[in-house]
Symmetry: D2
Subunit: 472 residues, 4 copies
């Protein structure tokens, strides 16, 4: 803290993750009272301004037989600070969105504009168009509360987005040449890794530019923060696909409904959508390998559910079972477009199950309906829960940037908004922790197989445990 | 813990809130291995079963300059236990819903039935109709997965509900006579206080009956837990009313939209709906007194917003401004029905503002549109977020009751599901903490007045702070 | 047609309603080929252009025992004409919206702009703000496809609206002074009567100005056309209120749900909403008198339904039962605000039924929930059906105005879009025809009382008919 | 009519399509007064009962220069008749649903049950499961108002459905053996053709069995009736996919959104969805051939829109462009699954356009997003408009069957519900009439190409017409 950042606090117990601060790089930086002090409508009561002493614990599940963890991680609490390091009139803001769509992007942009304008009297705010490349290849759009007024009711990003287009020197040149001093970056892990480079280059050039990031990943595959914005909305909209799959399955003898949701490396949407629907029989995610045929396999399980209930619904993350596709589709890789299509786990499962069923039950009616709602799920406006979340995210980021923090990510940890070092977030993955409650709930609530192959040691372990317990 | 309950753990640091356990009252109780051990589909991996040692911290915002709080409260983590105190075939379950409607009641009921049936092989589950009085005054309805299959898609409660009807002896007699040994109670603070009495009477009679509660209060006015189920859905649906108010206001010169939402003593829906909408100019809650006329008053603020933007939207909790109604409507209290109507803060504000405006701007067009969406907000099925929440709540409650806990509430604390002593929850209120972030966000995000009357000391305090800060 | 208008065609059988044409007033008017002839994308196939010979029959229900009606009314078919009476570059368009909100107003405005711009190359289009008074009291807003791009996704009217403000001379002066030659008026019966005056004054002044009207009345109380735009959307959204009332009623012993929908003089929304819901027990409309107490009265019917089903849902148009309120509330008219409130049929019925029930069943639980969703129903964007309808309405109006028609209304008759003389539409009411199928369906589908008081002749008539029929 | 059926009426002008009547086959059939005469709630006013003289005109667009068509087709008006040919207690009803899902199936079933039960006191109603084969291969499910109470809120069909399974003798045997005397068939053109066979076989056996049909085809490809139920709902839900495609396209440089909707031989959903969205640039249907490359082709048009607006949205019926796939995919037909996939016009267009663009604009960013919402569109409950429609359809069918009509279809013609001979409907297709208004509106509203190849005569015709018109 001595140098302006949130230094490592080595008091007896609390270890706070240091958030970089402009003063570390620009020691002579002036500070000013927060303009909210002079707000014409409300009076900052004691406690309104958040201090650098407030910290949020990361690990809050304790073992009562052990002493409280002395070395756990704490994060700086987000919120308005008493003193800021920019004056409203000097601030020049750039906002950019990168990567794929996610519900809430427009809400974040709109709130950045509104918060900067009304709380900090910033008047020069520009939108960078179509992602990183927009810094150097197209007009920067002036944004005002009037311009963004209805944006939060619209899906997608009004600024446009694209993948790639990252050219470090061109981007930092553009920032420097145009005089931006706060840059808000909204993007996924790729974007965040780019942001680290920008942050480092900015500091190398000793520019007074704060780099503030808001993680955007509908897959929820960015770590440390509780969840990424848009996830709840995506899960909500995915219910329409699951519900349709369920209706199709229920309306026909031995009906199977398959739904693929986003999630290349992390199955969060699939897990959440499954637990939010309660009409799903099995949820497949990249974190859990599965097999289709033989005892304990997916098809046997589906067959059982068809026998019990007459229908069966499977939800899968797009990244689930990619190892199976690799194994089974080697030859067909020669056919370019066919191959691409068949890497689709939903199409593959659909085809395979049909084959399996026809062989096993040649005379029994059945039907498989496969739904891929991907774009319909991610191109909607944020729902109420996510709009609130995006709003506070944006305002957190504003307060942090105005307070001189840089190279940070704004996001909630255990329900409290924090500032987290960008470098830390950029390298932290967020798979579904399959040894932990969220997946345990799916397994037990759904009563679904864990795809432990016959002969695996876990079967013996289970038997042993049962024996031990029975004699208890 | 030695005796089966979650005893006060006085290790060096962790103080766990004790959850009552049947063994405390019935020392010879037998336990059994959890039937999930022998689940045909999945193998409980290490960590699947939650132990009584796992505890969740209540206060996770720390001060880095102070040592870690040695005396803070911890709650027992919810989840399946290795050993249970009931065998599936012996269990006889009663489920009852009390009080007003709330999104998700049917989801909770359905999940209780499904979880008991499929995970613990319970086959005797009854629904008590129309609230507490249903224990002794009407048929108890047999519930099976088939019966409740589509219930989670429906609003309200298929079991019916009512207020009152609490007759302790008749209820406990019914429980005893019919041989129920697990009773799930879904209701608000009144219901929970009744549950405490039932719990005590059960213990007095030394019955092997577990009392498990799930707080239901769309107002979110039950304390300790993060939030009550249905809140997110209510906030989501309230957006339709706010959006309509906003459209009406925007479509007419000097248009004012007023929306009243639930919240007699706690303004959570209003606060959340405001932050989820971002088209609200001012949010009024019971926790903050306001005044209408004169400098710093509501009408002056509304006038300013009309001048700035041409329209203005106000969201109020039904309990907001009741002191103003008490003051201003004394005489009209004589007229019974009129009085009831006029205690409606929305109608009163609507009438008063019209008078005020006509006097001040006799020639200027204006329009006030008042919307009360109360029943439309609470009578819907749970949205995805709440369905997931209801699901895990119900399963948490099941695991707790099967593990022999009683007199407990299941609910999340800082995002982790816990078992909390019923007596504690029954006496804890949950107003919006107006000195804390959630309200600070409203104030600053909305830029709305805090209704500090002219002459109040807080004005001087602000001036002083500004001075101090300027000279910083 | 000789004189440019669609003259009375007295062929052997067909009588076409004459639509006024600019040529009648300005005999030397030049015509031009329709620019769609030279559309770069498509080729007008034979039949693409509609001729003045095409006519739509109004009465299509025939009596097979009678000869085809020789004197029935036919209307001119809407659609693009081969020749137009304006060149794109000369056209100056004004668009105005008047009266209360209705779903689809923005869609109509947007389509007028798009159609004029892309099909007829009109570049000077202005929006009049806040209704008729906007002609002379505020800026006229330039409209382009870019400006109106997202408007169809928004409820209300982006041009603003208001009631009143009609000043004939000022309006026509504004039209003349600013050189508008096509004026699109979107409004209800009051607006249409104003439009007749404007049309007459325009002709008196011999201006080349086409007056084209699109009826806007969410109550559907404008005659001749099949239905007004926004009705289907309103009925759709009203389902949410009815559904909530139904859930509330079902979830409580003897639960009654009351829903008030728009419809001061015509019960169309109530009728449609009732038939669209199928959870409604009784529908009350202004066109049918009813009484509450005694045999055959509403309360007895409700009591019966409560006894049969345990719950009961009533939908009423706001204009229903106003005679009852007149009778019963004379005294309370002295209290100004109370009175206004109590003219609300929903509040009155709610209060009266409670009294009646408490007297008759002092010991039986019951609950009445009253929902007034008015603004939530009318302030939404048009649904798909209405968007399509608004689109074709707007394009019909454009083609008509460009073809030189004036003083006309565009609207569908028996499913075919027509041009109807404005004067005819302005004086035609559209109550629910209670002797005809739409009401008969409600009566028989709902099995609801017709409120024929005891002693009324219709009872005897029924008996007689039954006797006659039995001996058949 | 003399013989009980609706005979050809050869009055001077009106030719009524004869609906078969049981009396034609069973001359001694007794009739009874309609039980609605003795309804306890309402009195059938004059006009309540529909007579066999009431007829609806099919062609209502007239040419004012020609005499009224003497030979046009009229259909018998649907509604309750004064006399019926069944007594409630003798009636035994079977209801069956066949073919693919369509919004509203459950609503129709529920209304059949309610109408039969409450209006005609029928108490023996059975649901046939899983389509035609259910007559002879599974339990017939007893249906009562209580059983079907919430069905109209659910998508799909609670009775189950399947394709095929038609075995005439087994079906008619089942009808005869079980004593059904009214059979309601809900299905598409295949089902209707089967119904004709059943109807003929029933008559051959001289059974007193009425065959009443309700056309179910989400594609709207059954002729004569105005539209099939579920269409409006499908169009409404398709908006979500189109809106997502539009958001995806707008949010990225040169973004293209493709949406495939149902419609193998008829493009009605595509046409309606296009006109309901207004964010669609081009609509492709089976009735209009198109080509992709070269002048006037689809890709050039898309390129133009991308240049003008930065994005482009295409909606296609699944049957559009199948000739192109036949031509281009001959070789790949060898690979079974790949081939099936590539017959998907959306995938093919998506792949082809990407190739074309990369070749033409190797350096320009672009993105193609393809959405296939098929099952999500058809597996939802009916919206308000369709629920009303399904309700009146079902009640029309009931009144017709009770009145002794058989071998008929119930459906609206020009907005009036009619009874139409089944044989007529079973053979009438309903393609989009591309020479008529509904398609003309798409063409002109959308300003989209008509894909007339270069050199086609229509180009010259257009030039000639322009010349002629210019010299006019």
């Amino acid at each position: 803290m001595a140098n302006g950042g949130t230094d490592v606090k080595q008091g007896p117990k609390i270890l706070l993750e240091k958030v970089p601060h402009l003063k570390s790089f620009l020691p002579d930086l002036r500070s000013y009272p927060n303009p909210l002090y002079q707000n014409s409508y409300f009076h900052p009561v004691p406690g309104f301004f958040v201090t650098d002493r407030e910290a949020i614990a990361q690990n809050i599940v304790m073992d009562v037989d052990k002493p409280v963890d002395q070395n756990q991680r704490y994060f700086a609490r987000a919120g308005p600070r008493e003193r800021v390091f920019f004056e409203g009139e000097e601030v020049k803001v750039a906002i950019v969105t990168c990567g794929g769509l996610c519900p809430g992007m427009n809400t974040v942009i709109r709130e950045l504009v509104n918060g900067l304008w009304y709380q900090y009297h910033v008047r020069d705010i520009r939108g960078i168009q179509a992602g990183y490349r927009g810094f150097f290849s197209s007009e920067h759009v002036p944004l005002t509360p009037k311009v963004v007024d209805h944006w939060h009711k619209q899906g997608g990003t009004r600024l446009g987005t694209s993948r790639g287009g990252f050219d470090l020197q061109k981007i930092v040149n553009a920032i420097q040449d145009r005089g931006y001093n706060i840059v808000f970056l909204i993007g996924g892990d790729g974007t965040l890794r780019g942001a680290v480079e920008i942050f480092n280059e900015i500091n190398k050039r000793s520019l007074k530019v704060s780099i503030a990031c808001i993680p955007k990943t509908v897959d929820n595959d960015v770590g440390i923060i509780d969840r990424s914005f848009g996830l709840q909305t995506a899960v909500e909209v995915a219910q329409e696909a699951i519900s349709a799959a369920h209706v199709e399955a229920e309306s026909t003898p031995n009906g199977v409904g398959l739904v693929k949701v986003m999630g290349r490396y992390a199955g969060h949407i699939a897990v959440n959508a499954t637990l939010s629907s309660r009409d799903v029989d099995c949820c497949l995610i990249p974190e859990i390998k599965f097999f289709t045929q033989g005892q304990g396999g997916l098809f046997e399980f589906m067959e059982q559910r068809l026998m019990d209930n007459g229908h069966c619904v499977i939800v899968m993350a797009e990244g689930a079972g990619q190892d199976l596709l690799d194994e089974n589709l080697k030859e067909s890789t020669k056919d370019e477009s066919g191959n691409v299509l068949l890497r689709d786990i939903g199409l593959w499962l659909s085809t395979e199950f049909k084959k399996w069923w026809k062989e096993k039950h040649p005379d029994k009616l059945f039907a498989v309906k496969y739904i891929d709602p991907t774009y319909m799920v991610r191109a909607v406006p944020s729902n109420a829960t996510d709009t609130l979340y995006c709003t506070i995210l944006a305002h957190s980021a504003i307060h942090g940037a105005m307070a001189g923090y840089t190279g940070f990510v704004a996001g909630p940890v255990n329900g409290n908004y924090c500032y987290i070092p960008l470098e830390l977030v950029a390298v932290t993955k967020n798979p579904v922790d399959v040894n932990n409650p969220s997946w345990a709930w799916v397994r037990s609530v759904n009563n679904q197989p864990d795809f432990v192959p016959p002969g695996d040691d876990r079967h013996k372990a289970q038997e042993k445990a049962v024996q031990a317990n029975l004699t208890h």
